[in-house]
Structures are given as C-alpha cells and as structure tokens.
Symmetry: C2
Subunit: 269 residues, 2 copies
C-alpha cells in the first residue's frame, strides 16, 4: 500500500484504464516487499509538455512508461535519448535521473521479440508484415531488423508513414529488404498488428477477413492490442491454425526491460 | 492495489516522505473496496506552476491535497477559490472538476477544531496563542475566530507576517480581539505551534523551555508537526499537566473534509 515514502513510476497515455502494466508492476513490487508503486496517468494532449517538464522536479518519481498516443510526442520534450529511441523518434520509457534529467528509450521491440520467442518464433531469415508504423510498429520493426529478419513489409493508413519508417530502417540496416507494401499473405512467416484496430467493442480487423483467410497455417500472428486480449484478428488466425500472440504477452515480456531502465527492477529478472 | 482503471488523488509538498495522508487514505479506500489511491508527490518549487497546470489535463486525477511549503504558492495557479481560501490566501486541497477546472479550499482549520474537540477543548470565550502565521497557522486562526475564541494572539518570526494575518482576520471578524504578540503564557487556554519548529531530529521548541514552564496546567497545547508526533513542545506541556494534541490528530481529523471536497469520500464520514 502506498505511503508517504513510496517511490513512484507512472504510465502515461490516454485512454489508460485498459493498461495492464500498473497491476503487473504493483503485484511484483508487493511480492518483493518494495516501497514502490506504478500509477496510471490519463492525460489530455494539451497538458503533455507541462506534465513532462514537471517530472524534472518530481523528486520521488523514478520514471514513466509512455503508451498510446504519446510515444512520438514526448521525444522533443526529453533531455537525452537512446540510439534506438532517436532513430525511431519514439519513446516508451523515461528515466528520471536524480538531478531531474529525463532520458528516453524504447523497449517495445525487446518485449515483442521475447514474447515471440516464447512461441518458438525466431526472426532470422523469415518474412514479416507489420501493420501500423506508429510507435509500437516502428519499435517492433527495428527489433525484427536487428534480429535478422530477411524481408520486412510495412503498411500504415497514414500516407507516407510506412515509407518514412522503411527509409529510416534501411539506413540503419542496409542489407535488409524493407518494403512499403502488403504482399500475398500466404508468403509471410509473421504478421504483426501494431495498429489500434481491434481495440474495444468494434470487432474490426486490420485487413479484411477474406484476405486474412490467405494466411499460412505456419505463420505466427501477433497483436499489440491489449483490450480485448483475444482480438478478432487473433481469432481468425487461430482458426487458420496459426500460432497467436496477444498484446498482453508483449507488455508482460517487456516489463523487466522497462523496470530495469527506470531503475526499479534488476537487469537479470 | 493500483491498476489501470484506478482513480487518483495526490498529496503535494516537499519533503513528502513524512506525511501520513497516503497511508490513511489508502487504508480507507482499501477497506471500502474502492478503486482509488492517494500518491505522494515530492515536488521542487520550480516545477510547481507546470505541475499544477498539467492537473487540468490529468483525466483520472480527482484532486490534490497541498502541504508544506506550497499552500500559498498554489493560490494564484487555480481557477476558483472558496471564500476562506481566498481570505487566507492559502489552499490545502484542490478539486479537479471533470472539465479540468481546479478549485481550491482550505480545511486545515476544520481538522484542527475537530481534533481539539476530541480533547474536550471548545474555543468559545477562550484565550489562544498561535505560533506561526503560515498556511496552517492562518487556517487554524481563522477557524478559532469562527468558533468564537475571545482573544487570539499571533506570532511569527517572519517580520510583518503575523501582523498581516491579524489585519486580514480582523476584517472578517470585527468583534474579535486579535493581537500580534506573545503575552505571559499563564494567561492562555490554548497554545498552538503551527510552525515547522520541532520537526525532525533538532529537538527544538517554538518558545524557550523556560518560557513554556509558565504554561497553565489547564491549557490545551497542540502541535501541527507530524514527525515526530510527540514533539519536544508536547513533551514539556505534558510534563506541566496540559492536555496535548499531536500533529497527526489534526491530519487525521481533517481527512473526511479533504476526501469530501475531492469527491472521494461521503460528507457524513
């Protein structure tokens, strides 16, 4: 239970009620007997610069996880960025140094790779399609490139967004084949939905169900949406015989990396 | 335990580790089965305007208790003030309306009167000395005046501070005898330390021990310092045979008023 001496970490986004991190972190803090807590912050966009600036003076705050829709917006508000965060122009975690400086990193991709590995998926030499080139999509694509994926196709409904990410990744990984396209689905070993489509009650899929019916039964299909955990995309993929990876798995798998970066968890967890 | 859907209230000050409110509020929220939590915010002074401004956009924050040293500093940062908060130029609680507007009040005095009543002290017709004319001192003095104290003496080491408070209170309570002085201690029915003197390890008293030895054994002696709860002042007063009231009693007694103002506790608690 939180008391006056409790050290804090936050998770920032809007909406926020659906995120699993506070329950997961707080369960772990409690199990370890640590005087630490994670709080959810549902913030309006116009308050973002002032809120981030005030973190510099918030002495008992160790760090802040950044989620949708602020992963890009916080980038220019920080004092220092990791190499990957700077390349991706996307931050999903901030550490507050004891002098108040704010350092940004992005461990979304680490969590994705770790969760996929738990399903037996190894990226090396494979063909992948990532839908959504926002913060999560970019981080996943970066980590897939780093893990040796053979071809990486990107798509995003926002004009130019997937192309811009492809250009950025190509610079960092010159040997990789990166395309701004959706090819025939049967050719992919991995399909990732990194867009918010499928969230909530709308029961939408990021590609038409008829197209998804072309998925290879050997493909691994992953979704970043956490609520519902079992999205319509994953239901269709499972019906095809694919292995499926739900959003909460990625969140859970990156928890140690988030906690380590903020200084509230050991590296080896 | 805090999860994504948890509604928040904060307590803001520096230092903050010593405050009892988070433990008290969180124990109550938990006992009631409410999805609410109070978090401690230890903030540097330069971050105050940005932090308060960002509360307007913090959708899952219901309100914020304000403690030392920010009770005066937040006043110009809010959208609306209660009559007493405006008069005292001191705020100890903020409610965030659903549209983001920030309303300030001061219930410090209510808590003090309630805690004193639990010791059998009734202000009507009595003679009181309040040491410290900052946020807590002003609120206590205001509530004593409202409760019908006969004479009210004020003292503060900052030049002009006690005098300014006396002038303000005299306007609101024209019939009351208010003086910027410390008279012979034997004449007081109530002595209140509303200064930080006595906090921590220094073991200081707000008046010299020799002077405190003049206290009437029938006097009620109260301290606003919460850590240690049993201050050197209270130890001396208790040795004189006085009834004594510790800082945590005042905090605890005002808890329902704070919670009600922020909309997280019923009025009748």
């Amino acid at each position: 239970m939180i008391q006056g001496s409790t050290g804090l970490v936050a998770i920032l986004g809007t909406p926020i009620a659906q995120v699993q991190s506070p329950a997961n972190f707080n369960r772990w803090f409690q199990a370890q007997g640590l005087d630490l807590a994670m709080l959810p912050v549902d913030l309006r966009a116009d308050a973002l610069p002032g809120f981030i600036a005030s973190l510099r003076g918030w002495n008992n705050l160790r760090g802040c996880v950044i989620t949708v829709p602020y992963k890009q917006a916080v980038v220019p508000l920080l004092d220092e960025l990791s190499t990957r965060a700077r390349l991706l122009r996307s931050v999903n975690v901030i550490r507050r140094e004891s002098d108040g400086r704010l350092i940004g990193d992005n461990v979304d991709g680490e969590g994705f790779i770790k969760a996929a590995a738990a399903h037996g998926f190894e990226a090396s030499g494979k063909h992948a399609l990532v839908l959504g080139a926002g913060g999560a999509g970019a981080a996943i694509a970066y980590s897939l490139a780093e893990a040796g994926i053979a071809t990486l196709d990107l798509a995003d409904p926002t004009p130019g967004r997937a192309e811009a990410l492809a250009t950025t990744l190509q610079t960092a990984f010159p040997a990789l084949v990166i395309r701004d396209q959706v090819a025939a689905l049967g050719g992919y070993d991995l399909l990732v939905n990194a867009s918010p489509i499928g969230m909530g009650e709308a029961a939408e899929t990021p590609l038409p169900p008829a197209q998804l019916a072309e998925l290879s039964p050997h493909a691994h299909v992953a979704d970043v949406v956490t609520k519902p955990a079992h999205t319509p995309l994953l239901a269709l993929a499972q019906a095809r015989g694919c292995s499926v990876q739900a959003g909460p798995e990625m969140s859970l798998a990156q928890m140690p990396a988030l906690g380590f970066f903020m200084g509230v968890m050991p590296e080896s967890l």
